[in-house]
Structure formats: C-alpha cells, structure tokens
C-alpha cells in the first residue's frame, strides 16, 4: 500500500475543506477502498475519514425516506420501514456481500464501490479505468463477468452493486454536498456509461460528498429482487433484477425493471417497462419484456450466456412480482 496521511474531521464543514488537499479521498466503511489500496488500484495521498459524521439516520421525508449516507448496509436492510415499503431494497442489500461487510459498508460507499473486473485489480494488466489510455484487457481476455449492455471498446466492466439496482427501480435520488452547497442527482444520472472515459464512473464533482439517498414514496405494486450468481451466497451477480409489477385485476397497470451485473451502471429497462403497461397478465408478456430488456445486448465471448440469462431472469422476476401483488 502506498503511504498516505489520515485525518478524521469533527464535522462536515471541516471534511469538505479537507477534501481539497492534493490527492485526497473520502473514507467511509472502507470495505472497497482499503481493498483497492492494498493492490494499489487506488493510491490516495490523503484520507478524510467521514465514517463518524452524523449521517446515520433514516428519516421520513415527503412520503418517502431519507437515508443518511453513513447508514450501514445492515441497518438499511433491517429498517422496519424499508422492509415494509421497499422490500426489493432490503432484499438487494441482504443479497450482497457478507454479514461482516454489511456491518461496515455504508449507503454512500456502496454507490461508489468500483468494478470487480479482475484486470482493474491487477496493476500489471492494461486497464483504461485504472490507467486511462492503456487499453482494455477484458475486451479480448476472460470476460465472463462483463457487460452486455451500454459498454464501449474502452471498457466492458460492470457496476457490482446490488443496492443500487433496487435504487434505480425505485427512482431514488442522491443528495450531495460540497463547499458550494447541496444538490440532488437522480439515480439514473448518478452513474455513467464508460464511453471513452471509464475512469469517470459518476457525475459527482471533485470535493462532493454523498450525504443521503432519498427514496420517493413507495410505488404501488409487488416488489422482487432476484439475483443469479455462481455461489448461493456471498458472490457478485452474474445477472440481477429488481422488478415491480402493479396490477389492476388481470391488467398490468405499470412495471419497473432494473438490472445489475450487465452494465457499467444499474440498467433500467424502460422500453420493456413501456411494453408491459396496459398488457394482460401472462407469462408471454413477461417473456417479451425479458427479450425487450436485452434488445441490442452484445456478448464478448465468455459472457454471451448473460444475454439469455438476463432475459429469463427479468421474466421470472416480473412473474414473481405479479404473484406478490396478487397474494
């Protein structure tokens, strides 16, 4: 690990000043940052520890919830209101990482965790995300876990979060603060596609700190989070789907579909959602939505299987969500 200096400011104002130091990064739970520092994929010169800032509340806000950025994954998944009103979010968080990691990882940090592409973690391998301009080793390498949607020739990495997939389906917003003030970013606009600059993963500006995630009032309908992975527990998604189906008798009033493990960001399948609106409840309608969700998907060899897997997982998640609604 490269040497760095460390400070833990007493309050937010001091943290927002401290982040202006050369090479400074915020440290929250550290479960991903510290790991990346050990392999020198991250080399901050200065760490500003924000883990004890008073951002640990979950509060009612305009019919929804405001989740403080330092709320741990464990506390988020266990919150009675989240379990009752946003079960897909609770399920998504519980399906990520391990008990120990969820006890430490934070809501803000989860959004900023970086890809688990093995070439990103290997400093001797070319990687445009870690060393811009060096090339993408995954493009013609072993790319079983990589993206099928929204990728570029510069990067085919995927975003690894489960939590963020549910947030995408729930139309959450990210509250960020800097010395210049507070602003809100829609979750759909928070993560970037790789294009030619995969080193830029979010639309955060330098010096901005995530202070909260805001959930709008819970949408009507049954909610499901379905994750497909190589191991039954403690593994990243090959494909995951957050699905919501709202029914009016046998008619689908509305649906939401977000996918994980398939793109550089949580992937919202809006076209598939539109195709379901007003349709009659049937397995065929859900299968068609699955096909629509992967329209334009591109395999890279080892990950070709993900295209059909994603289509089928979408169909199954929608079917399960519809059953929840009927039950």
């Amino acid at each position: 690990m490269r040497a760095f200096t460390y400070e833990r400011p007493d309050d937010m104002a001091n943290a927002l000043v401290a982040i202006g130091k050369p090479g400074a990064k915020f440290l929250a739970g550290g479960t991903n940052l510290l790991d990346l520092m050990k392999v020198e994929a991250e080399t901050p010169q200065h760490l500003v520890d924000v883990s004890r800032l008073p951002l640990t509340g979950i509060d009612e806000a305009d019919g929804g919830l405001r989740i403080g950025a330092m709320v741990t994954n464990t506390d988020l998944a266990a919150d009675a209101r989240v379990r009752e009103r946003y079960p897909m979010l609770s399920r998504a968080v519980l399906n990520g990482a391990s008990g120990q990691l969820r006890n430490q990882a934070t809501t803000g940090g989860n959004l900023l965790q970086r890809t688990r592409c093995y070439y990103f973690y290997e400093p001797s391998a070319p990687c445009n995300k870690r060393a811009p301009g060096s090339g993408c080793s995954a493009l013609h390498g072993y790319n079983r876990i990589h993206a099928i949607l929204g990728a570029s020739d510069a990067c085919i990495a995927v975003h690894p979060s489960d939590m963020a997939v549910a947030l995408a389906a729930l139309d959450a917003e990210v509250e960020v603060r800097s010395a210049a003030g507070t602003r809100h970013i829609k979750i759909a606009d928070f993560h970037r596609l790789p294009e030619a600059t995969p080193q830029k993963e979010t639309t955060l500006n330098p010096g901005e700190l995530i202070t909260a995630v805001i959930l709008p009032a819970p949408p009507a309908g049954g909610q499901v989070y379905r994750k497909v992975r190589d191991r039954a527990s403690y593994d990243f998604a090959l494909v995951s789907v957050a699905a919501l189906v709202d029914l009016d008798g046998e008619r689908i009033r509305g649906a939401r579909i977000a996918l994980g493990g398939v793109a550089h960001k949580p992937w919202r399948a809006l076209e598939a959602e539109r195709g379901l609106t007003g349709a009659t409840l049937s397995d065929d309608a859900f299968a068609a939505a699955g096909e629509a969700a992967v329209r334009g998907a591109q395999g890279r060899g080892h990950n070709d299987f993900k295209i059909q897997l994603a289509a089928r997982t979408v169909a199954r998640a929608l079917s399960d969500a519809a059953k929840q609604r009927k039950a």
Binding site: F4, L34, K38, R83, P87, L94, Q100, L101, N103
Partner: protein, 170 residues
C-alpha cells in the same frame, strides 16, 4: 507520518502510534502480539480476521487502525481461555468444528456476532418473511449468515452443528 490510536482490546486500553496504513488486523497481531486473529486473504473475502468491534462482527483486515480509535475490540483471546471456554468455543470442541483450525478464531468471533444479530431481529437473505421481527435460528439461516467465513478444510457441517448448539438449537 504516524497517527495516535487509543483503543480497548479485550478490556485493556492501549495508546499506540502507528503508520496510517496499519490495519486493525496488523495492529492486533504485530503491535499487541494477539496472534489468535488470523490473516487469511487480507481482502475481506475469507473472514479469518473477524473480530467484534463495539460488539459487531467485522473484518479486521478492512479496518484502518486509525478508524478504530476509542472502539472496544474483542478478539478470540478475549472471548475465553483454555480454563474457561466461551460457550461457542466449547461447542466447536464438542462438535469438532474444525480441522486445521486456521479459520476457527474468525468462525467463532463471527458466530458470536451472528447470534447477537439474530437476537436483535436482523433479517438475512434467506429470511422468508421480511416483516417478522423475530428471527429463527435454523440451519439455512446459519449457512447464509456465516457465508463470509470460508473453511478450506470444509468443516462446514460440524461448524453449523456447533453454532446451532451454542444458540440453543441442538
């Protein structure tokens, strides 16, 4: 640069000056000589380094020592000793919950933290009804909740039996 870290380990307070890069795991092993806590992968993937921080199980390899200032740490040495085993340690002996033993301190600290999480009503990925606030200690729950602790000898059946026994479900 060094940072000052004051923290409590197994009931004893320590004041140390450490390189900011020092993890809680390295502080325990290299600075305090508490080698019960094991370094397995050093990347949060194996759970061998699990300790209790303010009563909550965490991977000590993914905590900077500096971030643990003023925290109360309990390691395997603080749970019990040869004359007076912690009930979880006794259950692991009774059920032969190990072979080589390298993962065992992490398994035991993790299991102690995990039982506490069940008592607090925290759900897991296999909890069927998210709306219930009383969690049942059952084999599938133990397997899911302990998935962050890898045993390469694959003593899992006996580890699960030991934890169920210590949790009163033998």
């Amino acid at each position: 640069m060094t940072v000052d870290v004051g923290l409590t380990v197994n009931g004893a307070h320590h004041e140390l000056k450490v390189d900011p890069r020092t993890t809680l795991l390295d502080l325990l092993r290299e600075h305090l000589g508490l080698t019960g806590t094991k370094k397995g992968c050093d990347h949060g993937q194996c759970g061998a380094c699990t300790v209790l921080v303010d009563g909550v199980r965490k991977n000590s390899c993914l905590n900077l020592a500096a971030s643990c200032a003023e925290r109360e740490i309990v390691t395997i040495e603080g749970l019990g000793n040869e004359q007076n085993l912690h009930p979880m340690q006794a259950a692991f002996v009774k059920h032969d919950g190990f072979q080589c033993g390298y993962c065992t301190p992490g398994q035991i600290c993790s299991a102690v933290g995990m039982l506490n999480e069940i008592q607090r009503g925290l759900p897991s990925a296999v909890t069927a009804d998210l709306k219930t606030s009383t969690m049942e200690l059952a084999e599938n729950e133990v397997r899911e909740r302990m998935s962050g602790n890898i045993c390469r000898c694959a003593a899992y059946p006996n580890i699960v039996a030991a934890i169920l026994d210590a949790g009163g479900k033998a």
